[in-house]
Symmetry: C2
Subunit: 359 residues, 2 copies
């Protein structure tokens, strides 16, 4: 088992990564809790919920709810329904909420925990690679029809327990989605990490050792940044590399057409292109494109007008006063925030989308 | 103008109290903001919204929304609608939300501010006496059909600007409601403050000097307590004196039948009676009852079964493991938390309710 400690303004917490941790979960729960409420989804619950309940129920009162899998469950109605179930279960302010699932469950359960009776403890049990990103840093949220994560809070968990066994059951599209964020962490950090990722072939060949190595390194990059800027006043925004267009694509296509990581991968491709044009530098744009192709990332898009995407990008939380702000790379490992000139952005996005649509 | 500084775990903020402060509002707004969004209600907006907009609009982009007056607006649907209006107005993470109104507006706008794009700054402009309580301490929330304030957060404002001019337009029932919380602050603090309050006659005779004196003293009591226990782990619960039964009555009768303070006043009467029986002490129970009568507080209740109220009291956020926990007074100014024995509580509540119903 490997452990990384994350510092926040309110408390420190450990991210523990290892095999079979779901059978050791009790050791990560402070004994001040007596009632544990598990929130999981319809994909993950059939696989691991029984393991967790069986392990915990000799020590705790255990309640649970299962929400439909998919980003669509991060909506205000379901959020409110879960609140009602928590109340009906008798969970009080001293209860613990466990998020058993991927990033969607972490975001939803985390926002529920942040706002149930003004905040109860929560523990994350990520079951996807992508959740290595979302489970660190305390961001929790639900979506609004106008955009992703527009309703949320900063609310760090009390612990993250990452059982790598649970990563073997995720579909290939989720492996791709998770590795896109790992690739992002590698590019905004330092070149050696990208070199490692570049040689990773996703799929059957991916073994536990390589997976744990990449997850740990990804979490370290993220932890370094969020510890310096928990509330995203400045450098934390670097983590949004690839997300400005990524979020716009996700929202425009409807959540679930592309996975989050697949959308971000396309966003990174665009951000690399814009970076090269803006700073007249060579970046591993082609190498990244080839890595995406080799690993079967979806790289063709339906036709969407440039203006539609730009309007979406303006509503991004980074943007200020109706200007699109993007994270670009001055060089590999050196991210920077840039307020984009709209006509130029529009032209570059137009060119980019034409390439992606005709493929 | 008088100022009290409140310390919180994230930042300090000032509560400023004085006449005509709505015309000096700019001096309380940090110049990092460019877009200000005012949330007010249908009672307060016709009286003061224009003053505030006229004062601010030369310096800031100003948007606003007006919600129906009354506790009923603290619901999840309206919360979500306000979120949509904020997005439509173009407010970004650097915006400022101003809560112009009483406790309901402070709670709703505060919870909106706490969760809009994971948190934007907000400033409270309380326009009721009751809001001297709710505007200090950072508690924000909306209601759930199962109970008050079950969905919320701890989210302190950046400033509280209390224009006492705005207190002259509130109806008498709201003056009573506010003074019930002032009376509560006096009883959990030290005897001299209760002696002052005891001699206050509400209504026309209440002048600005007496009002500011009592507001300041009430805020000081509250500030002392919340600074020591921001997240309500221990002594902050003393502020719930009278609230266990008070909340149950409010919820059972439907919000709006009794004002919050009127319900708390009845709750305090019961808490005083239970305190006397539990600790065999003499408390100013009769004096408080007479003060309530003299100031025309509603003291007759419709018939409600004791069990119904006890079930509500068990769902109170202070309660743990299905036991009703009440704040009692060992003596005047010495509050203490007590886990109640249910059969005894039930008998005392039965006797109490019989007195209140037959009046």
């Amino acid at each position: 088992m490997e452990t990384i400690t994350i510092k926040t303004s309110t408390h420190d917490y450990d991210v523990s990564i290892g095999k079979g941790l779901r059978f050791q979960l009790k050791t990560f729960i402070p004994n001040t809790h007596s009632h544990v409420y598990i929130i999981s989804d319809s994909n993950v619950a059939p696989l691991y919920l029984d393991d967790v309940i069986n392990h915990l129920s000799s020590t705790y009162k255990v309640s649970y709810t299962i929400v439909p899998a998919g980003e669509g469950s991060k909506n205000s109605r379901l959020y409110f329904d879960v609140m009602t179930e928590l109340i009906d279960s008798g969970l009080d302010r001293h209860g613990l909420i466990i998020a058993l699932g991927g990033g969607m469950i972490g975001d939803l359960a985390g926002f529920v925990a942040a706002t149930y009776m003004r905040g109860v403890d929560f523990l994350q049990m990520p079951t996807t690679i992508l959740a290595h990103d979302s489970s660190v840093g305390g961001k929790v949220a639900i979506n609004h029809p106008a955009g992703k994560n527009l309703i949320g809070a900063f609310y760090p968990p009390v612990a993250v327990v990452y059982d790598v066994d649970t990563l073997h059951t995720i579909p290939f599209t989720e492996i791709r989605s998770g590795y896109a964020e790992i690739a992002k962490h590698s590019m905004i950090h330092h070149p050696p990490f990208w070199n490692t990722i570049q040689s990773v072939q996703l799929g059957e060949q991916l073994n536990d050792e390589a997976l744990m190595r990449d997850l740990l390194q990804g979490i370290r990059v993220k932890a370094n940044i969020v510890e310096l800027d928990e509330k995203e006043s400045n450098i934390r925004q670097f983590l949004n590399f690839g997300h400005t267009l990524g979020h716009a694509l996700e929202a425009e296509l409807g959540y679930g057409v592309l996975t989050h990581g697949e959308a971000v991968a396309i966003g990174m491709l665009f951000a690399l292109e814009v970076s090269e044009k803006t700073f007249q530098v060579d970046l591993p744009r082609t190498a990244f494109f080839q890595w995406l192709e080799r690993n079967n990332y979806p790289l063709s898009l339906p036709k969407i007008t440039t203006q539609t995407l730009i309007n979406r990008m303006k509503r991004d939380k980074k943007s200020k006063n109706d200007t699109v702000t993007m994270v670009l790379l001055e060089e590999l490992g050196k991210p920077v925030m840039v307020d984009m000139d709209e006509p130029r952005l529009s032209q570059w996005l137009d060119e980019f989308m034409r390439k992606m649509v005709i493929r």
